[in-house]
Symmetry: C2
Subunit: 201 residues, 2 copies
């Protein structure tokens, strides 16, 4: 491997830890920054420095937010009886983009993934049980809005089992063809699920 | 576009400026960092903060370096009469990786690219002329190790014209088939150049 001055090597090493970033891209970042003005670099430094200072974890839904409880949990027009369970904090933003969720959220902070040592006990599942148990008025529905992957399915099954004694309605996202999809290019599993979940028209 | 708290939005905006990084990847970086320990975040901050403090531009070759003149320019075993001209500082590391350059470097800090307002006068070309003119013993060869692109060719042609009065030997990288290449998959231009530059065996 090529040798750079220590200060460059160190920052390459740090950027290299970012998800999806290899040593070449990391090197590109560093040399890009070296060519920027001191002011530009300072802006990045300030933004990075301010991040942990200004971001809290919402005590109710566990989303990253500017304050706790977060803006969504505080809003009086939200149906507090409808909890939408997501894996990550950024999933909240994605779902909010649809405008289709009128309730509040609960961030699990991951999905069950035993191969990577992510077991249910390290996820925000106990807090979900407590939240459902204590809710007055009672929770009307828990929507599981999770990735449609093996880890997502495992988490769905676990949640279903663990929430059953609480006697709450549990739903999950529909599986089918994505809007705009061409039958010809749909994979077999997607098509099978779309057939299984077909509905009267 | 989805709305995040201001501190998150600001850092997404900053990462978004990095080369090749779109808003989605930028968002991934921020949420990755939010999940890291304060120590981990501090390491990145320190590395970023130390970068401009510990990196100088070599007064002879214009490469980013820990000191000026840089390590390569200082080395007594390097042939100071052989100048290898490169576009960017990181190209030095790439060429050093080959071990095939026994001389010193000269970083242009870009390639001639009129469409993007990069004209020869903003590149380190005047300093190259001064360097060649003042060199004692005189420079024996200037190797142009530039990208084999339109911008690289334009720069080569400009350097050839501007350096001609200095009466110095100018060479450029060979064009041909990359080592390990399959004839079947070579593009026509590469193959044409490989034929034109064929050599006796």
């Amino acid at each position: 491997m090529t040798k750079f001055p220590a200060a460059i090597q160190k920052l390459i090493h740090e950027f290299n830890k970012l998800p999806g970033i290899g040593p070449k891209t990391s090197q590109r970042f560093v040399f890009y920054l070296l060519k920027q003005s001191p002011r530009r670099l300072q802006e990045l430094l300030t933004a990075l420095n301010d991040l942990p200072k200004n971001i809290k974890i919402c005590e109710q839904c566990f989303a990253f937010a500017a304050q706790s409880p977060c803006d969504i949990c505080r809003r009086p027009d939200r149906d507090q009886r409808l909890i939408c369970v997501v894996a990550e904090s950024y999933d909240v933003a994605t779902l909010e983009g649809t405008g289709a969720v009128n309730g509040v959220y609960h961030v699990l902070n991951g999905l069950v993934d035993p191969l990577n040592q992510i077991t249910p006990d390290i996820l925000n599942i106990n807090s979900l049980i407590v939240r459902i148990t204590k809710a007055r008025p009672p929770i009307s529905e828990v929507i599981m809005a999770l990735n449609q992957t093996a880890e997502g399915e495992m988490t769905e099954l676990y949640l279903k089992k663990i929430l059953r004694p609480l006697n709450v309605k549990i739903t999950k996202l529909a599986r089918g063809l994505p809007t705009g999809a061409d039958l010809e290019y749909a994979d077999e599993l997607t098509l099978t699920n779309a057939l299984k979940s077909r509905r009267e028209f």
